[in-house]
């Protein structure tokens, strides 16, 4: 049975069919929520919310976009809401910073190659995840929506209520901010990326 058929059955109220959709997409959705919210608890809440909204909204899902894209949108929405609420509660502070393990981010798989290379890759990934988590909410969320869930500028604009030009510039700034953090705080860049001294000009 193709996913389309499963979705159709779920639309008709078939809960078992919907459960299949959940198990098929749960890791991806959870990962997206984890990247966007930065911690496991919030990620679970948001992911659960996303699936629940998917169940409730199935009737209106026309199948225009793919089911997973639709799901990504719901998940992004749930995360955005959660981040807004969290911000209001905590006056803008991210929850206490967790080390990589606590935050539930995965041990990167060994890519093959010598142990030195493995360690280097692991460090790079950890650095990336850490600095991503450390970005301000509004930058992290747009970066994750684009890079992790693959939403288009159009879709991002709709979800964040931004026009395309703003999506483009915010994304660019988010990437730059992440780059800066990684330059300062990690062994990420292996190639000769822009060194701090070169940053003196412009902008």
């Amino acid at each position: 049975m193709t996913e389309q058929e499963i979705v159709l059955r779920a639309k008709g109220g078939d809960q078992d069919a919907f459960a299949e959709l959940v198990t098929a997409h749960q890791d991806r959705i959870y990962t997206l929520c984890l990247r966007m919210t930065g911690n496991r608890e919030d990620a679970q809440d948001a992911a659960q919310e996303a699936f629940l909204n998917a169940w409730r909204g199935l009737a209106s899902f026309q199948g225009g976009s793919s089911f997973s894209t639709w799901l990504y949108r719901l998940a992004s929405n749930a995360c955005i809401d959660l981040l807004r609420r969290r911000k209001r509660r905590q006056e803008g502070e991210a929850p206490h910073s967790l080390d990589d393990e606590e935050a539930g981010w995965p041990e990167p798989a060994a890519p093959g190659g010598g142990p030195e290379e493995e360690l280097e890759q692991k460090e790079r990934r950890q650095a990336l995840e850490r600095e991503l988590r450390a970005l301000p909410d509004h930058q992290r969320e747009i970066l994750v929506m684009r890079e992790v869930s693959g939403l288009s500028y159009q879709e991002i604009g709709e979800l964040l209520s931004l026009d395309l030009g703003t999506v483009k510039s915010r994304l660019a700034r988010a990437r730059l901010a992440l780059k800066k953090r990684l330059l300062e705080n990690g062994n990420f860049f292996t190639q000769s990326a822009s060194k701090p001294s070169e940053e003196t000009k412009r902008r």
Binding site: D27, R28, L128, K179, R202
Partner: protein
């Protein structure tokens, strides 16, 4: 000639979708004479690739089960709550049970030769027991129930044992003969509407949250009574008018707060409206009862 800021935006966009021929040309022209941007371009490409390689994190165990649990609750059709399960009915039944117990005590004590006054004095004032059986009703019911609980010596337990709601649950199930209604008295007499504020019993101690059938009270601060989920609000959101009855139709509980009964679906919708209106509230813990109570506090 592009500024560095414009060049940055073009670079960023190029990662996501191809530039037009003209845009490409402009960007290359800028990069040709801007080493800083060249370095940025290399860095952004590296970053983009790395982000694409970020791995999936598996969900914690039981995630799908929890989701389906909520789906099932959501899918449950709104039923008419059977009469015997409605809160007012339970309260009335509790009152009836209480009355029967007390009458039994009175006559029982009388037969044992004790002065009526001595017994009656220890019997709590039933007039306190309101329809809603909230707050203050807790103590009298529990007192009567626990007093009647030890079948062998009702008089002794009445005079020596201070009314304790915690015990009320267990002992209240004993006087089956006394309870005229078919419903399990432990659910009724021992678990009155404990409401959201811990009431005090006659001994002046704050009682333990009443439990029924070994169920935990969930989010203890806000929903002690497992039979009915409660939502405590200080303000109503926009759109509440469509979901809830008019305020002048709400009833008053024993603490003088307005409340109304709603279905779980309505409660869910209400929570959505609260979130949309940025009104802070504590979402009651799942699972929710079929009939829920919305309480408006001062």
């Amino acid at each position: 000639m592009l500024s560095c800021e414009e060049a940055l935006e073009q670079m960023s966009q190029a990662l996501d979708s191809p530039l037009t021929g003209e845009e490409q040309g402009e960007l290359e022209a800028h990069l040709a004479c801007c080493p800083a941007c060249r370095a940025d371009w290399a860095a952004l490409r590296e970053l983009h690739q790395a982000m694409g390689e970020l791995e999936e994190t598996p969900v914690p165990e039981g995630f799908a089960d929890r989701v389906m649990e909520r789906v099932r609750e959501d899918a449950r059709p709104a039923k008419v709550v059977p009469l015997w399960r409605r809160p007012q009915w339970k309260a009335a039944a509790g009152l009836a049970a209480c009355a029967v117990i007390c009458v039994g005590l009175y006559y029982g004590a009388d037969r044992l030769g004790l002065g009526a006054s001595g017994n009656v004095a220890a019997v709590p004032d039933l007039a306190q027991w309101s329809e809603e059986s909230a707050g203050s009703g807790e103590a009298p019911v529990a007192g009567a129930a626990s007093a009647a609980g030890t079948d062998e010596d009702p008089v002794q337990s009445k005079t020596t044992e201070p009314p304790e709601t915690a015990d009320g649950t267990e002992t209240a199930s004993a006087p089956q003969s006394g309870a005229a209604n078919g419903e399990n008295p432990s659910k009724v007499a021992g678990v009155p509407r404990a409401a959201l504020v811990r009431g005090e019993n006659a001994a002046g101690e704050a009682p333990e949250p009443a439990l029924a059938d070994g169920e935990a009270g969930g989010a203890a601060l806000y929903s002690v009574q497992p039979e009915e989920t409660e939502l405590l609000l200080t303000a109503l959101p926009e759109g509440a008018a469509e979901l809830l009855p008019a305020l002048d139709q709400w009833e008053l509980d024993g603490q003088g707060r307005s409340f109304c009964a709603v279905s779980a679906q309505t409660l869910e919708a209400l929570c959505g409206a609260l979130e949309a209106a940025d009104i802070p509230f504590q979402r009651p813990e799942q699972p929710w009862s079929e009939t829920c109570r919305v309480i408006l506090a001062e």
